[in-house]
Amino acid sequence: MSVSVRIPTPLRKMTNEQDVVKSTGDSLAALVEALEGEYPGLKDRLMDESGELRRFVNVYVNGEDVRFLSGLATPLKSGDEVSIVPAVAGG
């Protein structure tokens, strides 16, 4: 299985400037672990000490905010598109 992940500008230094990377995981939490294996340090940027998504990080699966889905437990399947987007925009 393969999931594509859109990487926002502030994190691209960690992904060799790639704006989309492929990874795996049957849930968002598993995906974050897999990304951490490939791009060490990425997990820290996305999650706080309590293991929750940081306040200023929004994650979307196929365009849907994961807070409307099941948060980190949101299941993923092959072909899904995950977007990591800084929360502080708009208004």
Binding site: R6, P8, T9, P10, L11, K13, D19, R45, R54, R55, F56, V57, N58, Y60, G63, D65, R67, F68, S83, V85, P86, A87, V88, A89, G90, G91
Partner: protein, 419 residues
């Protein structure tokens, strides 16, 4: 002169060059402008401000631009009106309306865009862009026209016709997205990394947001260099609300006003009330919502500054109110009937919230209260269409007029007396 020195992360404090950046690379926290307040002291004086132009640019020293060549469209320094009729009706002794309907594109957005467009030009951008619920797109399109820049504006496709027209007239590239504002915002956040454009509320957001401080400055100056006791402010992302408070605290920091004890209260529509809902639930965690309200200019289900708005509410002993769409319409009518101001739906939300906050005892009779009316009514005519008294349709004869008048008089005398 400019006192901007850097950008810094509001959460972790890391500093950045004042470029087109809005998010901390380390913790994703929002970036905020750093100023040399010590350098301002004694130089940025009441006298200097009072001798400036009758626009928001009288506060240029307090705004994040490097040069002294703003894109001037005559924005700001809008009337602060004593609202005796509305105050009497609601039971407030000293009520004021800050009428920001009278800006160049008829909303407060000209303030934020004035700063963002000026800063974008300084940073070498030739294209202005935005994600908008309508008013912002109007203002970005107009400023681009004035500055000779290109504009590409993104809006939800279900916007009011008047707001679409209010952008299209300035000939931007107008992109109507099949989705909500939050969808538009997410799309633009991704596009901002791909195109060399200044998205006013994304990659140049730290500058943009500062424009709202001018509403706080103006109110204090117009009250004779005093902060009000209570402010009632509409909330979408929560940015305007937090920046009005920032403006008041900055004036105090510079010794231009006494320490403000202003209570900051925020207004939302029930159909999109993520900030008010968190406030009433006693939590600092905002749950995003899917908006469903006629107050489309406030329909942001995922508010970027919601967390900071809650902090300001706590710090200032303010409150939040969420009102129904019917109350929004009644609020618009009440404001028009008592004070002669035709505001858009956001104004109806704010007036309805004011009414609730007075009735529930949050705002006390004696508090000097300022209500922010941020956009004009002709932007959202659908909200009141069909809910106002119809015209008397007559022939061009005295008899026809008098027959119609007799009918109206009979209707009025038959109607039960209302309080």
């Amino acid at each position: 002169m400019s006192y901007m020195t850097a950008l810094h992360c509001r959460e972790c404090g890391r500093e950045y060059e004042p470029g087109p950046l809005h998010v901390c690379e380390f913790c994703f926290g929002p970036l905020e402008v750093t100023y040399d307040y010590d350098g301002m002291r004694g130089k940025v004086t009441r006298k200097r401000i009072e001798s400036g132009p009758p626009t928001m640019w009288r506060y240029i020293d307090l705004l994040p631009i490097a040069g002294d060549d703003p894109i001037e469209m005559g924005t700001g320094f809008t009337p602060l009106l004593r609202a005796e009729n509305l105050g009497r009706e609601l039971g407030l002794d000293e009520l004021y309306l800050k009428n920001d309907c009278v800006n160049p594109t008829w909303s407060f957005k000209d303030r934020v865009v004035g700063v963002a467009a000026t800063r974008a030009r300084e940073l070498g951008f030739t294209t202005l862009a935005c994600a908008s619920t309508g008013n912002l797109a109007n203002s970005v399109s107009a400023h681009a026209a004035k500055a000779g820049m290109d504009a590409i504006v993104f809006i939800p496709s279900d916007l009011e016709q008047s707001k679409i027209l209010g952008s299209a007239i300035y000939a931007p590239t107008l992109v109507a997205v099949n989705g909500s504002y939050d969808d538009v915002n997410r799309l633009c956040s991704e596009l901002a990394g791909r195109y060399p454009w200044a998205f006013v509320n994304i990659n140049v957001r730290p500058y943009y947001a500062e424009g709202s401080k001018t509403l706080g400055y103006e109110v204090a100056e117009q009250l004779g260099w005093q902060a009000p006791d209570h402010c009632v402010v509409p909330m979408a992302s929560g940015s305007l609300y937090t920046k009005i408070w920032k403006g008041l605290t900055e004036l105090h920091r510079l010794g231009l006003i006494d320490e403000p004890h202003t209570r900051m209260s925020g207004a939302q529509a029930e159909g999109c009330s993520p900030i008010a809902t968190a406030w009433m639930g006693g939590t600092m965690n905002i749950r995003p919502q899917r908006p469903n309200t006629i107050a489309k200019s406030l329909a942001i289900g995922n508010p970027a500054d919601g967390y900071y708005a809650l902090k300001t509410m706590q710090e200032t002993n303010g409150a939040a109110a969420a009102v129904s769409d019917d109350e929004v319409v009644e609020g618009m009518k009440l404001l028009a009937r008592t004070e002669g101001i035709f505001a858009e739906t956001a104004g109806g939300v704010t007036i309805a919230a004011l009414k609730r906050l007075v009735q529930s005892g949050v705002i006390r009779r004696g508090e000097r209260t300022v209500v922010f009316i941020t956009g004009a009514g002709l932007k959202t005519p659908d909200a009141v269409m069909g809910r106002l008294a119809a015209s008397l349709d007559i022939e061009a004869t005295v008899e026809s007029f008098e027959a119609a008048k007799r009918e109206v008089d009979a209707r009025v005398s038959a109607a039960p007396a209302t309080a």
